[in-house]
């Protein structure tokens, strides 16, 4: 089977049938996995999941392969770019089909909490935290991800995530006048 990185992108963008078939065989497992994962919370039928997968391929070859021609191998790997496109297409498909539903125990607690409007939240001033610090705190607390997952996302080691988290909290405590634990 042809690997994704062996696909002749020029021939693919020209609509060569043989290259397209090779591309489909190489890309289908990735697109299938991304689409299934993205649609897991939408509780769609198998038929809908198949249609969402087909939507990705349609999007790639529509208008004389316009989307495919925007891909630049110098900027990102084909599989990563395809995964981003597939997820985006799958979410669009699901939104067109129905509203998302998610079992209660899979929803992060932070999203379920009813906000007490009497307690005004303290706004983190812009520039207090770096973008990375803010992202790490959001992933750890709002998304309830563990350190290893965040490290995997940011391509850094777990210890760096921990230290970035620690420095961010020190800054926040210093700014809001809290004592460090």
């Amino acid at each position: 089977m042809t690997e994704l990185n062996q696909i002749d992108l020029r021939a693919l963008a020209k609509g060569d049938k043989r290259t397209w078939d090779g591309f489909v065989a190489a890309a289908a497992p990735l697109i299938n996995a991304v689409v299934r994962r993205a649609l897991a919370s939408y509780r769609l039928s198998e038929e809908d999941v198949m249609d969402a997968g087909q939507d990705v391929f349609v999007r790639l070859c529509a208008n004389d392969f316009r989307l495919l021609k925007t891909y630049d191998p110098a900027r990102a790997g084909l599989s990563t770019w395809l995964a981003v496109v597939a997820r985006s297409a799958a979410v669009d498909h699901a939104r067109r089909r129905r509203q998302a539903t998610q079992p209660l125990d899979e929803v992060p607690e932070a999203n379920l909490g009813v906000e007490d409007r009497h307690i005004e939240k303290l706004k983190i001033p812009q520039g207090l935290l770096t973008e990375r610090q803010l992202l790490i705190l959001k992933c750890l607390y709002d998304e309830e991800r563990d350190v290893a997952e965040v490290a995997q996302l940011l391509k850094i080691d777990a210890q760096t995530v921990r230290s970035t988290h620690h420095k961010a909290l020190l800054r926040l405590r210093a700014h809001f006048g809290e004592e460090t634990p």
Partner: protein, 178 residues
């Protein structure tokens, strides 16, 4: 995978804080993919990270994709591949194939079709021509053939060339009464 969680005091502090809206330029799929792969400079990455930090949907996408891209993938259903292959057909392939010599000018019309021996359907053409000949000959024979036609022509010519004022059976009969 570890399930390391942050201390509850840190969580409590975080829950009392809110981030303000951050205006950011739109992020393309290619930018996002480059960021996931860690290919961007610190400055470029900061722009994406700011956007991902404030957009829960982008955060979820990033976390999901980072997880999927690092794992072996199961086979896709055959139906997905079959349907996707059909999206690009042979017509497209022909359209983009190497240019070939222009085809010879095709003659049109029934006569051309019947007598163009260099083309296909030679047997059909031969049968059609034979049937046309048989029909023409049999129709001619049923009409009496050539001899009867000539006789009829002779009679008409003779009748038309007769002087209307000259004697014939009728004028003779009428004339006999006077």
């Amino acid at each position: 995978m570890s399930t390391e969680r942050m201390p509850s005091s840190d969580r409590e502090l975080w829950q009392r804080l809110a981030t303000g809206p951050v205006a950011s330029a739109p992020i393309t799929e290619l930018d996002f993919a480059a960021w996931i792969e860690g290919r961007l400079t610190e400055r470029e990455a900061a722009r994406i990270e700011a956007a991902v930090a404030v957009d829960p949907e982008m955060r979820r996408a990033a976390l999901e994709l980072a997880d999927i891209l690092g794992k072996p993938l199961p086979e896709a259903p055959a139906r997905l591949e079959v349907r996707a292959r059909a999206l690009v057909g042979f017509a497209v392939e022909k359209r983009f194939a190497e240019p070939v010599a222009a085809p010879p000018k095709i003659r049109a019309g029934l006569f051309d079709w019947l007598f163009a021996w260099d083309r296909s359907f030679a047997l059909q053409r031969a049968v059609t021509i034979t049937a046309a000949i048989v029909l023409a000959v049999s129709g001619f024979m049923m009409g009496g053939g050539l001899s009867e036609t000539l006789a009829a022509e002779r009679y008409v010519t003779k009748w038309q060339t007769t002087d209307p004022y000259s004697s014939n059976e009728l004028t003779d009969f009428l004339g006999s009464d006077f």
